[in-house]
């Protein structure tokens, strides 16, 4: 996008008042997408977003400016705007900048330069639509989206590193509504990854459509969720949203460096049941949350967050890592060139335990089986979280019984993690469709988990009190 000479000039201009670090983040993102609605292809979208973000860091302060005008004059103006953060800092000069190309073994296909022929997208969407409609006569609406994104980033840093990453990302989502006698139920399933349409050869859209339709039909017959405290069994795969919210966000280094997280200063302490181990991994091939290099040019890594209940470390970007005297863990991510990077999760998961899922269900007298979540949110300083259950059932006397709908569960991260009483041997990653929002920035992530039982949690529904 820009040659080493121009990048060096921009870095030098950005550091004209000094600073600890500067970087130039160049991005070009091309999205090609189709949307299906009412049994027909409803819309096609082409978008091209490109620009450059320039950052100057001094101490704990960051100056930032972006430009989508790529003329060198406009980029110099952005570098000057970013430089202002250091204007009143103690006088310092930055040494020579000599950019060196850095190569990191890629985690996903670097060769695909363009989207596939339009007919292949249309075909996948129509197959999903036909399958969902055929599942049940009560299906009244199917909406499906297929998006194919190719993001190229070029990152140059004042410590002389230059790195390029080419990141494909395909996502197929199917949303189904079922209706009968005034009741409605909806279901969603999505999949994809940092790959191409060939992924759907082995992960057929029919499988997604059947699952979305099954959940919609099940929710049509579901009873309102009960209200009150009860045992909860969280399903393998998509249950990993629990780790992402209840623990993951609290271990991002910005909150911990600033002391606003309840996990601040607690590395080495017990924060969960000893059954609990949690990893965040940016290195899993083709997963949504994987990064060959992060958005600061640092290679993705496997991080141990919690090991047998003990807090082991935080997820670090370069700014917070430097201030905390450690190395970046390759967790600096951003939505686009219009945003400063933040420490973020990549793919967060819990490895397998020893119980079988059957044993876990059988040991539950009365509780909620949360097979998958529609999403969640957490408050960082106290750790209170909430999840919306997408597919849930009652457990009565050790057996999964009636489907329930519209359950929200609330709890507290450390409290819930201390109450983990069983971890299944069925660990797996969820289907790839999760997106995480933080500080107004969305990035793709992955989650995973075995079947897990928590001894007590508050379920918020409108049904009878669980007592």
């Amino acid at each position: 996008m820009l040659d080493h000479g121009d990048l060096t000039k921009l870095l030098q201009r950005a550091l004209r008042y000094g600073g600890d670090h500067a970087d130039v983040f160049c991005e070009r993102r091309r999205v090609y997408a189709f949307r299906l609605q009412d049994g027909h292809i409803h819309d096609g979208t082409t978008s091209v977003v490109q620009g450059v973000g320039i950052r100057v860091v001094t101490g704990e302060s960051a100056g930032y400016a972006y430009s989508d005008d790529l003329s060198f004059e406009a980029l110099l103006r952005a570098a000057e705007a970013a430089s202002l953060i250091a204007r009143n800092a103690p006088a310092q000069t930055y040494g020579t900048i000599a950019l060196q190309d850095e190569r990191v073994a890629p985690l996903y296909d670097q060769a695909r330069a363009d989207h596939a022929p339009a007919i292949r997208y249309v075909d996948l969407l129509e197959r999903a639509d036909r399958t969902a409609r055929a599942y049940d006569a009560r299906i009244i609406a199917v909406n499906a989206n297929l998006s194919d994104e190719l993001q190229d980033v070029w990152i140059a840093t004042s410590d002389g590193r230059f790195v390029h990453d080419h990141r494909p990302l395909v996502t197929l989502g199917v949303h189904v509504v079922a209706s009968a006698g005034g009741d409605r139920g909806s279901g969603y399933a999505g999949d994809g990854g940092r790959t191409s349409l060939t992924y759907f050869d082995d992960h057929a859209p029919e499988m997604l459509a059947n699952d979305a339709a099954r959940i919609a039909a099940t929710n049509l017959e579901a009873e309102p969720a009960p209200a009150g405290e009860m045992e909860i069994v969280v399903g393998a795969g998509g249950g990993g949203v629990l780790l992402h919210e209840a623990v993951g966000h609290g271990l991002e280094s910005d909150f911990n460096r600033r002391g606003t997280s309840l996990y601040s200063g607690r590395v080495g302490e017990r924060v969960a049941s000893e059954l609990v181990t949690i990893y965040d991994d940016g290195n899993l091939p083709e997963e949504r949350g994987s990064v060959t290099v992060d958005d600061e040019g640092v290679p993705g890594a496997h991080k141990v967050l919690v090991e047998r209940g003990v807090l082991r470390g935080y997820m670090q970007d370069t700014l917070n890592a430097r201030l905390m005297g450690v190395a970046s863990t390759g967790s600096g991510r951003r939505q686009s060139y219009r945003f400063l990077p933040q420490p973020r999760m990549c793919n967060t998961y819990m490895p397998a335990g020893e119980s079988t899922p059957e044993e876990i269900i059988a040991s539950t007298k009365r509780g909620l089986y949360a097979k998958s979540f529609a999403g969640g949110q957490v408050e960082i300083s106290k750790g209170d979280f909430v999840f919306m259950v997408a597919e849930g059932y009652l457990i009565e006397n050790g057996k999964v019984t009636a489907p329930i709908k519209n359950a929200t569960i609330v709890g507290n991260g450390p409290d819930a993690m201390t109450k983990v009483v069983a971890v299944g041997n069925d660990a797996r990653l969820a289907r790839r469709h999760y997106t995480c929002g933080k500080g107004g920035q969305n990035v793709p992530v992955g989650v995973g988990m075995p079947t897990v039982k928590i001894s007590s949690i508050t379920v918020g529904g409108t049904g009878d009190d669980a007592g």
Partner: protein, 443 residues
């Protein structure tokens, strides 16, 4: 960029689309200058200043539609993207309702969208604003020892729209905001809160002391919170939480949701669905408000639309596509591809929030919610919440880690009191209100 320059670029883009083979086209250009400063303690922790621009195009041919977006305004780059969009369009189903709007124009009154004093403020003043807010939250209470940052931000946008039927329009609009997120600590317990203010005019922003006082109070008042009992009880939603509920009501009233069966309001026009307190209006013509503009995302003049009147559902909110599809007239709510709010709000009542609390013998005041579980098809609502227990008309103790749940048809029917504290700090806003009967799940 001047308004005329912006219109010129939008119009040229429409011409380019027609040259490439579109039968009709619409182009909108937005150019936004943004400034943001974050302070933490005595440090300026972030300073951002940028200009972003982008063009958004809709193309039609033989009743088929495609969408093209680009931040690259170079003619050849736009041509390449348009050619791709037109190729995609060949795979889209014909839709008799697709196309440019049947009516277009502009609201002619003075909307007061630009505060010239924002451009005149220099950076040092803006930085001082954030630093002052940061000092003020720490001065407000000795337990406030930290923060996630205090912010000042402003923006000036030029929006231009042109279509192949001859519509040409542009406007400039400003906005400014200040917000803060103090952290209070007592022994090992940490509590955070967030409070902010936003407006088109500096003079309409709440002052630094006002924002700091409110944020600080919210952070410290939650110490010692416990779970409320699981019960059915009246719930008062403070205005910021109430505004989020108005967003859910907006979604159900949007014709795009109604048309695909994803709204609990479908087929209920003319029905009494709420209590007499439920009068909800969408109005894009309120001078100086954040949701006001002379025309919507497809060049239709904005207007005032009464959606609920004394509890009766009068209309859905439409763009021209869903208006044609559902046999109605557009209400000027197009975002250029979807349906969005102008200023969408619940009409305020006469008493204060304190009056509402005093008139509640046993219930819950909700100050903050987390989660986003609303099923628009059925109107089912459920959120994690924190706030206060109300006993005998008084706030007795803070409560958290509970949920409030209900469904919108029942909730609107039971909306039995509305306060007078409406503020226009966004495009979807509400005064505080009470719902007579909801499910509270605690322990």
């Amino acid at each position: 960029m001047t308004r005329d320059d912006a219109i010129e670029i939008a119009a040229r883009t429409v011409d380019l689309a027609l040259t490439c083979g579109a039968q009709s086209a619409e182009a909108s250009l937005s150019v936004t200058q943004r400034f943001h400063v974050e302070a933490r303690d005595a440090t300026v922790s972030k300073l951002e200043r940028s200009t972003g621009s982008g063009v958004h195009l809709r193309l039609w041919k033989e009743g088929r539609r495609a969408t093209v977006a680009s931040t690259d305004l170079d003619r050849e780059a736009l041509r390449e993207a348009i050619v791709r969009g037109l190729d995609q369009l060949g795979y889209v189903a014909q839709d008799p309702y697709a196309g440019l709007p049947d009516e277009w124009g502009m609201y002619e009154g003075d909307l007061a969208l630009v505060d010239p004093s924002i451009a005149q403020r220099d950076d040092a003043e803006k930085v001082a604003d954030a630093l002052a807010l940061e000092r003020a939250i720490r001065a407000a209470d000795p337990r406030i020892v930290n923060s996630s940052g205090s912010h000042y931000a402003d923006a000036a946008s030029t929006i231009a729209l042109a279509n192949s039927n001859g519509f040409r329009g542009a406007y400039v609009a400003t906005s400014a905001s200040r917000s803060t997120a103090p952290l209070a600590q007592m022994d090992d317990a940490k509590r955070t809160a967030h409070y902010g203010t936003a407006a088109r005019f500096m003079r309409d922003l709440e002052s630094v002391p006002q924002v700091a006082t409110m944020a600080a109070r919210r952070a410290v008042e939650m110490f010692g919170a416990r779970k409320p009992p699981t019960m059915r009880a009246p719930v008062i939603f403070e205005r910021d939480v109430a505004a989020a509920m108005l967003s859910d009501i907006f979604a159900a009233a949007a014709a795009s949701h109604v048309a695909v069966g994803n709204s609990w309001l479908a087929e209920r026009i003319g029905e009494r669905v709420g209590s007499a307190n439920v009068t909800i209006v969408d109005d894009g013509t309120l001078p100086g408000r954040l949701g006001s503009a002379p025309f919507d995302g497809e060049g239709v003049a904005t207007r005032r639309t009464t959606v609920f009147e004394g509890g009766t559902l009068r209309t859905f909110l439409y763009d021209s596509y869903y208006a044609r599809k559902l046999g109605a007239r557009t209400t000027g709510n197009s975002t250029g591809g979807g349906i969005g709010a102008n200023n969408f709000y619940l009409e305020p009542g006469s008493g204060s929030l304190l009056d509402l609390i005093a008139a509640t013998s046993r219930g819950v005041l909700v100050l903050d919610t987390i989660g986003f579980a609303t099923e628009h098809a059925t109107g089912t609502y459920s959120r994690g919440a924190r706030g206060f227990m109300i006993e005998n008309g008084e706030l007795t103790y803070p409560i958290d880690e509970f949920t409030v749940a209900g469904n919108f048809p029942d909730m609107l029917a039971a909306l039995d009191a509305v306060a007078n504290d409406l503020r226009f700090d966004g495009s979807t806003v509400s005064p505080s209100f009470r719902i007579a009967d909801m499910t509270v799940s605690g322990n």
